[in-house]
């Protein structure tokens, strides 16, 4: 299968000596929904900046659908649509003009750009606002405008840099639905996000970047399988005065009617339920304590923190 994106040895150093990317290797298959995760300042936006030519790389190779950006960046750019983190459109320009003009910059005849602008503004619920200046839109609408603008030239690879930051949950879910639809139509998607639940629900593959290095690159399923424990929260029917004893399962009573139970990999939830039933404890609902991916993410990023810790007492 063609690689939508292939990055090898990508480095970026700034004039002040800061090394934002220390040699990244990454590949994304065509049609994938790929998450690029990492804490603030890890290098996610720098990587995206290189892919869309806003950041000039210091070393390494980048190919987009087989086109080396050093050989023909213009061709590579046609296949990429970028949704940046910041609202980088003209605040005084009309919504429709922003999308239509972007089509013009990609060489789309005006009639086609107008047609596509209508298509994507309608899909993203912005058609009614087409003649409004962009500054009058709400934060969520501005995010959707960025997506419409990125799609007007119908790229094969869509890169979204924290597209749902500051967006309410209802809108976030409608954006997820939209992104799943366009991915199903064949558009490869790379997503950076701080909402790990978002990555878990949308993405098939994930790379975690920290301090300019890829610390994990795998598919979501196998990453989640590496979780060795999970904490479940049980809401109880009756009030308990003390935490019940559940054999090998560590239990914490949060309040009279809420219980936290920790399960190791391979342990059975059915067994926990039967132990609770034996003690006449009825469960009315259950949920994960924390997002599973979040736990893994923290453990992976913590690991690199540990490696960077100076050795206490080391000779200077």
């Amino acid at each position: 299968m063609t690689k939508a994106l292939s990055i090898s040895g990508l480095k970026k150093s700034y004039d002040n000596g800061f090394e934002a990317l220390k040699g990244i290797d990454l590949s994304v298959e065509e049609g994938d929904f790929f998450a690029l995760l990492g804490p603030n300042g890890a290098g996610k936006s720098t990587t995206i900046g290189v892919l869309c030519s806003l950041v000039v790389k210091s070393a390494g190779q980048v190919s987009i659908f087989g086109t080396d950006i050093d050989q023909d960046f213009s061709k590579a750019k046609r296949d990429v649509g970028v949704v940046p983190q910041e609202f980088n459109f003209n605040q005084f320009e009309k919504v429709a003009d922003i999308v239509i003009n972007q089509g013009g910059y990609y060489g789309l005849p005006r009639a086609v750009a107008v047609e596509r602008a209508e298509k994507y503004l309608r899909k993203l619920g912005l058609w009614e606002k087409r003649n409004m200046p962009s500054r009058s839109l709400s934060g969520g609408m501005k995010r959707r405008l960025l997506i419409a603008r990125a799609l007007v030239h119908e790229p094969r690879l869509l890169i979204l840099d924290e597209p749902t930051a500051g967006v309410d949950i209802e809108l976030r879910r409608s954006m997820w639905k939209f992104l799943k639809e366009i991915n199903a139509e064949g558009v490869t998607i790379i997503l950076t996000t701080h909402y790990l639940e978002e990555a878990e629900s949308l993405c098939r593959h994930v790379a975690i970047i920290d301090k300019g290095l890829i610390v994990e690159n795998t598919n979501m399923k196998s990453l989640l399988q590496r979780l060795d424990k999970e904490v479940f929260v049980f809401d109880l029917l009756s009030v308990l005065t003390q935490a019940p004893s559940l054999e090998d399962y560590p239990v914490t009573l949060l309040d009279g009617k809420t219980l936290e139970v920790e399960l190791k990999k391979g342990q059975s939830l059915n067994h926990v339920f039967s132990l609770l039933a034996d003690q006449s404890i009825e469960v009315v609902s259950m949920r994960n304590k924390a997002n599973r991916l979040e736990e893994l993410f923290v453990s992976l990023v913590d690991k690199t923190e540990d490696q960077d810790e100076p050795v206490v007492g080391a000779k200077q």
Binding site: Y14, V55, K77, N90, G104, Y105, G107
Partner: protein, 257 residues
């Protein structure tokens, strides 16, 4: 990018620029008309009638080409510097930078935008001047060629300024401290033959003097300098500034990190 696509990208930029300056016509088109109208009233009618003739023409006739050129210079420059700095400041320049639009199309688009405003304002000021004097044109090709080339030079200079500017102060420094003094001392209001020999020589170092005089030659048929020098100088400036601006765009100076 194919030629047809480049043409679309170019026309998109130019259209956007023209829409921008016509949408804010109260800020862009009206002020030069009022300012130049006042110049015509004061220097042409009130004071000009007492000054008498300048190089064989009434003072208002003498001053009109200079004032038209002054508005072309100022408007070409300020259109590009404010527009390009504006998109840089709002980061909407990234719309262009992420697209396959070649650098020379970006530069040409903004320059044509600046030229459009410069020439439109020049045309409006010419219309206003017709209320104060009868304009007859000595050489239409020379007039059109020099005004067009001058608008190109100052649009390029505006682009250069916008690339380097970090703040709004930076885009007003050049017009205030360089452009305005050079324009006022560039033979707009007087013939340098009135100056002592030393100051005549100093004035000849001012490039705007050549542009104003070449334009005045096109309209009135008189000039303080050899207009061939003017065309040559303007051409050199165009080539030099184009090369510099394209290099800045290729390097991504203050545009890409």
């Amino acid at each position: 990018m194919k030629m047809a696509e480049q043409w679309i990208a170019l026309s998109t930029i130019v259209r956007k620029e023209i829409v921008r300056f016509t949408r804010i016509w109260v800020q862009t088109l009206l002020p030069p008309v009022i300012t130049m109208g006042l110049y015509f009233v004061i220097f042409g009618q009130l004071i000009g009638s007492r000054i008498g003739q300048m190089d064989g023409f009434s003072y208002v006739e003498f001053v009109v080409p200079g004032l038209i050129m002054m508005s072309v210079i100022t408007n070409s420059y300020s259109n590009v510097v404010s527009s390009f700095f504006g998109v840089k400041f709002q980061k909407s320049v990234e719309e262009l930078l992420v697209s396959p639009t070649p650098n020379y199309i970006i530069l040409l688009g903004y320059v044509l935008g600046g030229v459009s405003r410069g020439l439109l304002v020049g045309f409006i000021v010419t219309l206003v001047s017709s209320f104060f004097t009868d304009l007859t044109i000595h050489s239409l090709p020379i007039t059109i060629a020099i005004v067009f080339m001058t608008a190109v030079v100052f649009s390029l200079a505006g682009f250069f300024n916008a690339v380097f500017a970090r703040t709004f102060d930076d885009i007003s420094i050049v017009p205030t401290f360089i452009l305005t003094p050079l324009t006022y001392l560039g033979g707009v209001f007087y013939s340098i033959s009135l100056l002592p020999p030393f100051w005549q020589s100093v004035s000849q170092l001012n490039p705007i003097l050549y542009m104003v005089n070449a334009f005045r030659y096109g309209i009135l048929g008189i000039s303080d300098i050899n207009i061939n020098y003017a065309f040559f100088g303007v051409l050199v400036f165009i080539i030099l500034l184009t090369v510099i601006c394209l290099r800045l765009l290729a390097r991504g100076t203050r545009l890409r990190s």
